[in-house]
Symmetry: C2
Subunit: 647 residues, 2 copies
Amino acid sequence: MTANWEPLHSVPASQASLTGGYWGARQRINRTVTIPAIYQQLERTGRASAWMLRESDERHDHRIVHKFWDSDLGKWLEAVGYSLMSQPDPELERLADGVIQAIAAGQLPDGYLNSYFTVIEPDQKWRNLRDWHELYNAGHLMESAAAYYQATGKRVLLDALTRYADHIDERFGAEEHKRHGYPGHPEIELGLVKLYRTTGERRYLNLAKYFVDERGQSPHYFDIEATERGEDPRKFWFKTYHYCQAHKPLREQTTATGHAVRAAYLYAGAADVSGHTGDSTLLDALRLIWDDLTSKQMYVTGGLGPAHANEGFTFGYDLPNESAYAETCASIALVFWAKSMFDIDPDSRYTDVMERALYNGTMAGVSYEGGHFFYANPLTSYPYVNPHAHFSGINTAKHYRREEWFDCPCCPPNLARMVANVGAYVLSHSADTLYVHLYNPGSVRASLPGGQVRIEQQTDYPWAGDIQLTVRLDQPAAFSLALRIPDWCPGFQVRVNGSTTGADVQRGYARLTRTWNDGDTVELALAMPVERIAAHPKVRHNAGMIALQRGPIVYCLEEVDNGAELANVVIPRGAVLRADVDNALFGGVGVITGDAIRSVPAAWSGGLYQPQRVLRDENQPVTFKAIPYSLWANRQPGEMRVWMREG
Amino acid sequence: MTANWEPLHSVPASQASLTGGYWGARQRINRTVTIPAIYQQLERTGRASAWMLRESDERHDHRIVHKFWDSDLGKWLEAVGYSLMSQPDPELERLADGVIQAIAAGQLPDGYLNSYFTVIEPDQKWRNLRDWHELYNAGHLMESAAAYYQATGKRVLLDALTRYADHIDERFGAEEHKRHGYPGHPEIELGLVKLYRTTGERRYLNLAKYFVDERGQSPHYFDIEATERGEDPRKFWFKTYHYCQAHKPLREQTTATGHAVRAAYLYAGAADVSGHTGDSTLLDALRLIWDDLTSKQMYVTGGLGPAHANEGFTFGYDLPNESAYAETCASIALVFWAKSMFDIDPDSRYTDVMERALYNGTMAGVSYEGGHFFYANPLTSYPYVNPHAHFSGINTAKHYRREEWFDCPCCPPNLARMVANVGAYVLSHSADTLYVHLYNPGSVRASLPGGQVRIEQQTDYPWAGDIQLTVRLDQPAAFSLALRIPDWCPGFQVRVNGSTTGADVQRGYARLTRTWNDGDTVELALAMPVERIAAHPKVRHNAGMIALQRGPIVYCLEEVDNGAELANVVIPRGAVLRADVDNALFGGVGVITGDAIRSVPAAWSGGLYQPQRVLRDENQPVTFKAIPYSLWANRQPGEMRVWMREG
């Protein structure tokens, strides 16, 4: 059941300096635009000051204060923490310190820490773990506490959260006198593992494991607490515990199920627990779920969860494009899970998906300028009825656009923390192997037993496949440098210090094992052709269609470049497709151009349906231009398509 | 503004005897299975006895008694009335008489007649016309009263409903002392016109006109009554009065808007009002809306309203197949509206659509056996998440199937009344012209100034295009016989008494003007090729696809005949398509067969996405079999598609 293992080590964002390229630019925008913009929204909506509310305040109003406000603030603080690691900013730190002071001041003497249930409904604490997000909020605050402490060395938030963790640990657990509860919305598992890693306190890891283990057991905790509230458990508003992955114990689950963000947070937290406890039974279940997710339920963008109704999964090969939910947070959670899986089961099957989600499904969630956000990420977009407003705008055909904020604004601060922390996803290492997952200009430091290693990268990735790595060492050291050969790459070459080298590819990584000297160079050349991607024949939505991908980037066509009625643009199978960098676009991004056919029945008389015999097809030759999917909806509003008809 | 006209005359179902063929069979099933099955459901759910409820009863429970129960009973009684016209059935009549007795006994001394607001919330009468369906219920009961009186000569229900109409007329209208209200769900307009036609009481017509005229005027009645209830009108649960076509006066409306059933009932009622009042301004608006609906917002099946959110319309060319709502009731309402339009503006553009909706969009709503019903009618069906149960079954992929009943069971009794009354849609006539709309074996009688005319038909329509009509007269009479030449028909021939005759086609009808003698025969031969139908290039969902149609019948492919993964079946443009009647299927129905290609990448490795360069297409030649769309989901559950990829 248990093995003697520890997960691979990540490096904190403080040891990664992504000085340029794709992530350098995105981190700059994140720091200068996104993080400040989110703070303004936290202020505007009262979240930043929610801790100062008192029951007598006029603003004390259920419609204003959400039960999950703390999570928004937590994610923002976490983003600030990561950002400060790579870029000191006294003004930002002062702002964060003020928020932290208010949070700490709001902690109750027994350690309880939640703005809503302290101020608004103080007698309702812990009465509904299924729906009321207390443990979820706690988890996000724990993650922020760990990050902020790592960044600044300041203990105020960390101390508050360890006290809160202690409080929760006293209340929930396997012991007779404790409640056998667990969160309706997983997240605290991730937070507790980070507290464990930061403080070394094993109780936090054990509590995370308890939450994973107890989930879905019988008698069912959500039934018990509902009955205690005087409710009929069968009248659960979502009807089925599949929604929150609590329909049965996780070790018995085999498919990605329910609300996609809840699912991926749970799986990521369980992977962390598996790694630190050596529990291989969890890993076995997670592998099955991973296979189901990535072979049957994932968009080509790394988007998860097609359905609006449950914000999540439906069934295998059900991947509608236009109505895709594919919540930004779900792709972010997939990044977390993928990295956690790699660190206990090193294989590029995880980091390839991580890269796919990073460059496509997550980054589509934020505007190029950094101040607007998508919640849902469809793969086809037409004039449109807003899926978030079931009962409004029904007759107003408009284009789907990023917004400054949402009533439930989980995605913006989630993006902010992910981008600020992307340096932590560049590599993993054991005592003798350094795995490089992501290619981007900059440097990352890692501590191996033989001393500090710094890996410098120069590359135009993801727009070109050549990467030059330089190893920086205080003294020569023997270790394996394992470079990810992405699943999209049909061929590669490696040169070490200028000489072509055969590389042993194991589980997707080209391993270079030697005694490295300071200044050694590795040149990795990844072939990066434009690929026409086909979807599995069971994906009915993509039958007869292709998506364009080059490197890790999935492309799309937009109306602004290609005119409207993109459904009538057909890319012939033999068309030559050209990849370029368009320096006039978004600071220089890859584009794909080629010849296509626009099929328009020229004799169309204006009626809605016509016998084909009266029509005469006119196939106009056109050229098309595709841009990275993540950058759509940054110019004039219009149609967008990832999957194009193939002729 | 007003013209001196009267609408064309319809004939009551009592003068139409559809002895065989398509409608003969459907009426037999309707009478022997559907009408009794619905009564059982009315009994089981308490609707049949709702009028006997008293406030003290245990069953008096808001969750049990709906505000629109009376409409379900009304539609059933109306169906019984039409059925009795063509087929006496003492047992059924006894059952109906009992229900009518209970309804009449439930009428309040002032004429008020509504089970819910008499028994359950007696102090809430007329407080919310926007949402509470009182006038809607009244309308359905009026329609049933007219039908039942015509069928049986019994006045109990008619007298009750004229008293109720008087009561409503005293309360609502333009006069200062009356309320300036109108229904949130149109329907009473149709009922009042039928009361007017039955009793000759012009006040009922005037009241129908008032409801049409007042709709959407400012100050807005729904705002006024909401304020009176102490509610903020802006907090209307649907947010916009577009939903109920009350966002502006009907004469200013130009597009089919909002909830599709409400819309089409309103338009049908307004057409009736326009006809009887000679108000051409209404007709002008209705023509614009008709054009918008049929040229931009109608499924090829005659289904209306793509969206679940509003059970209705969105915007032009937005016609998704798999998620189509296309409520059965909406197609039924379209049949009503089309007939009403023809009768004031005789043109086959209306009756062609009527026929399309009759054979496809409406009849898909009932199982071949007659006891199960569809509410929504998608044009593509795969394993599926029930759209009516947003929060259940999310992870249970199942096939969409007809059900015995619904919480809101508007569709089953609506189908029953339409099928029972289909004889009334066979023809319209003026003093000198007899328009034949529908072709079906049987006979229809009409009273022209020169005497009674009976038109007998022999035909295998809709499976063949040859129709033999025989004119039966007591004495020779001069009139025009106008035979509809359907829009799907590329060519026709007419022979009168065996001799080919040139026919003057005016507004879609071949007019044969002469002095007719008893026994004169007309042979109409309509060419009925299999057509590949293309949708307008702006309908993105159908780009690169065709639908198969022959005569008025739209066909579909089902998994039971063609295997699964129908998205991978491609019908080559040159494929020969053959029409046959399959006598082993559903008592003998048309089928279309042909050669197709099943495109399956043979080298598919099992992953979800693959570069096309590693795949090898395998195009298997297959034969396909298509059945009438209306008959889908009557055999083994499986996939279904109307729109097929074309190669």
